[in-house]
């Protein structure tokens, strides 16, 4: 969800502070969603940060001006020190968001987190019905648990955000999904079409909706939105459409090293949670302060400004608007992260996007043909 972001002066000319901190506490997760944004080789990660190390990260981030904090993963609930981290974060003045699958949550924990100062819990669903939800999640008990936890979150007085990742196998459910959210009393509904990084890139052909599917879904969301507005409902629908159907790239992360700082489970600091796949060396909070990481590290300065841009970005009059798009997408689709994001119609590699669209029109793969995100599959992706 985006608000109006401030662009205040930081400690270095032209570099603002990291206002958003994403704490990926762990890659461990009981679910196996085939569009997971975690790295393909997540199972290789050793040595999660300790509680003390996370507390240090939180303090340093807050001192630098971070105000929004996401606890994410993997499934952050598997960290036994979560209540302690929530309390520390809240006491430091962060707005604290817990981004969870709901698995491992209990009504008791929901209340304990609230007492520790947690501001918001986002529960993710995979579909509007148990059968599809559990098939995507790779867990037979996921759906009922999620429903129960969504109710517990509401009961405890939190604002409720429900998140649905949308792909070709559930995109026909828009009305059912929104209606389920309405019944649960959601304040915000995120209908986030898959972004093709990590496991989702691996499974792109089996996930990407066709143009016709997407247009139908958009029409359904728009008409539901109208109904909500005329009935005076404050429930907000946020439909994130896939950039593969755009002709101009997204202003990814509002620019590299501009607002967002992700700390991965092993302490690697990243400008976004996907950047780990890039052939760039990123610093670790075990070795440097967050301040020097953000302002001085080569990794975080790599794509700041525009002097790194090749054509067609270099001479493009839109380069200050979209920053050349997404570096990860450029790397995944062209093999060179400096290139223009191929979503752009001006990119010489735009044909790769067109080919993906065409493939989506003819895709027939069923859910069972996707590569599910689990440790066994992850080990197949180890690079040595």
């Amino acid at each position: 969800m985006s608000g109006h972001h401030a662009m205040p002066a930081g400690d270095r000319p032209g570099i603002g502070p990291p206002l958003w901190l994403l704490a990926e506490l762990t890659y461990r997760c009981p679910l196996q969603c085939p569009y997971c944004s975690n790295p393909l080789d997540f199972a290789q990660t050793q040595q999660e940060l300790t509680t003390e190390e996370w507390v240090r990260v939180l303090r340093q981030g807050r001192e630098m001006g971070a105000a929004q904090l996401g606890f994410s993963g993997g499934e952050p609930l598997v960290r036994q020190d979560l209540p302690e981290l929530i309390a520390e974060a809240r006491q430091l003045g962060y707005y604290t968001n817990l981004i969870t699958s709901g698995l491992g949550l209990t009504a008791t924990k929901v209340n304990a987190f609230r007492d520790a100062g947690l501001d918001h819990i986002q529960v993710s669903f995979q579909a509007s019905d148990p059968e599809l939800n559990n098939a995507v999640a790779g867990s037979r008990k996921a759906y009922d648990q999620k429903l129960a936890m969504a109710r517990a979150v509401k009961e405890a007085g939190y604002p409720m955000v429900l998140n649905f990742v949308i792909h070709r196998h559930n995109i026909h459910q828009m009305e059912d999904i929104i209606s389920l959210c309405e019944r649960l009393g959601a304040d915000y509904v995120e209908l986030a079409t898959c972004q093709y990084y990590g496991w989702a890139f691996e499974n792109r052909e089996g996930l990407m909706p066709s143009k016709a599917q997407l247009e139908k879904a958009e029409a359904e969301v728009n008409s539901y939105r109208k109904r909500l507005t005329s009935s005076g409902s404050a429930m907000k629908l946020i439909f994130v459409t896939p950039d593969y159907y755009e002709e101009r790239p997204k202003a990814c992360m509002n620019g590299w090293g501009s607002l967002f700082l992700t700390v991965a489970p092993d302490g690697t600091a990243l400008p976004c949670h996907s950047a780990r796949l890039l052939p760039i060396e990123f610093p670790n909070i075990r070795e440097s302060s967050l301040h020097s990481i953000w302002y001085d590290s080569p990794g975080f300065n790599h794509y700041r400004g525009d002097s790194w841009m090749p054509e067609p970005c270099r001479s493009c009059d839109e380069k200050d608007k979209d920053f050349g798009g997404c570096r990860c997408q450029a790397y995944l689709l062209t093999g060179n992260a400096d290139n223009a994001d191929p979503v752009c119609g001006k990119s010489p590699h735009h044909d790769r996007i067109l080919a993906a669209r065409k493939a989506a029109d003819h895709a027939t793969a069923g859910l069972e043909e996707l590569t599910y995100r689990n440790a066994d599959n992850s080990r197949l992706f180890f690079r040595g």
Partner: protein, 91 residues
Amino acid sequence: MAVGMKRIPKLRPGFRFQWEPAQNAYVLLYPEGMVRLNDSAGAVLKEVDGQRNVADIVALLEQQFPDAGSLSEDVSDFLKDAEQQHWILFT
């Protein structure tokens, strides 16, 4: 239509108002979002505590900014806008 002077505004549940030194501004924080407020929006929301009615808030602000003249229209317009944005509710 103007907001009634006797109505009592409060922040919507899940919204937090606080001063951010790094941004040199008051901000409104909500699930996964943040709005940086300009000076006048910050001054009004600072007095929204779920107890004071609109007239109380206007009086307080007129005291704080004696050169600004009558503020009832500005405050009322802003609160109406804030309600439409779903930042605040009237009890």
